[in-house]
């Protein structure tokens, strides 16, 4: 497919992601605006970093959820970090689920935390699928100086 078609497709997909509130327009578009010739894959790099970092945080959250007694302060702290990253890439739906989770932490509601974490993971995964299509590359690979690398965790 030619460049123009590709460009239109990308623009269309981006609008759709924004309309469905997967992504916050201002934040995500701002990130894309930061791309230039010296760094044309900036957003993709950031998103890849996000998914790598979030799997690290998810492991910690999982462990903390299964510890007895449950350490709500720690859970809140981990989720706060993850929420921050989600916000930085403009992932609205994910961020909103994080807020829910934090409220359950505040309330000391273990059952609520479990459920909320499922929702966080669900939204996180849904966004990943969307972004993989958008970038046309699986998000466990990344670009560094134009070279494609795979990340093995």
């Amino acid at each position: 497919m030619d460049r123009n078609q590709l460009r239109r497709q990308v623009a269309h997909m981006r609008s759709s992601l924004i309309e469905q509130h997967y992504l916050d327009q201002q934040q995500f578009v701002q990130l894309e605006d930061l791309e230039d010739d010296s760094n044309p894959n900036f957003v993709e790099e950031i998103v890849t970093l996000f998914y790598k970092d979030s799997s690290r945080l998810f492991q910690k959250i999982d462990q903390a959820l299964h510890s007895v007694p449950m350490d709500f302060a720690k859970l809140d702290d981990y989720m706060h970090q993850f929420k921050g990253s989600s916000s930085s890439i403009g992932a609205i739906k994910v961020k909103n689920e994080c807020t829910q989770f934090k409220e359950f932490c505040l309330a000391g509601n273990a059952e609520g935390c479990f459920r909320a974490f499922q929702r966080v993971k669900h939204e996180h995964e849904a966004l990943k699928r969307q972004l993989e299509t958008y970038f046309q590359v699986p998000l466990d690979t990344f670009f560094l100086s134009g070279q494609l690398y795979a990340v093995f965790d």
Binding site: L34, Q81, S88
Partner: protein, 223 residues
Amino acid sequence: MATAGEVLRRNVPESFELSEKELHVLAVDDSIIDRKVIEKLLKISCCKVTAVESGTRALQYLGLDGEKKSSVGFDGMKVNLIITDYSMPGMTGYELLKKIKESSAFREVPVVIMSSENILTRIDRCLEEGAEEFIVKPVKLSDVNRLKNFMMGGERKEKGVKKVQKRPLQVDYNNSSSAPSPLPQLSPSFACNLASLHSSPSSSPSSPLPRCASKRPRLHSMD
């Protein structure tokens, strides 16, 4: 790691430093994503950036960590602005701010605090401790442009410098959820500032917020 340029700069008098185009910003954030983003925002605005992951690292970089300090006159690590996240493990941005303001070498360097939470007590504390500004995350290009303009134009205008304060529209008193309500007893210029923030819809990234001419008044006493 000193480049030839840095070595040469050591011998250059202070006034020459000021006319240099490239400002050096020290960015501190424990989140790798936020570090990358702030770094990019700053680089796009033609700032030299050093990004570190913690307050401790920042103090090490500045030579304030109690290790043998660099000799007087060494300005290879001259920093024009320090921008730091508030919530970080170990040393918070607030604690870092205090340490910087306590040091004779760096107390004049403007420090900006970033936070994902706009809690009024937190903002108050930071501003009172001498933070230049408090920015609610996510940081935008317009925030960075404003900071850069401030550094280029304002820094050497002496005390009585125009302080630019970014005020949140909603206030959170000690995390309790309260509906946004007008703040009491605002000075007229400040009230105008807030009013114009309310009236303009989310503007494009390049349009800057209106500037406060006067230092933000103390609005109320906090417990």
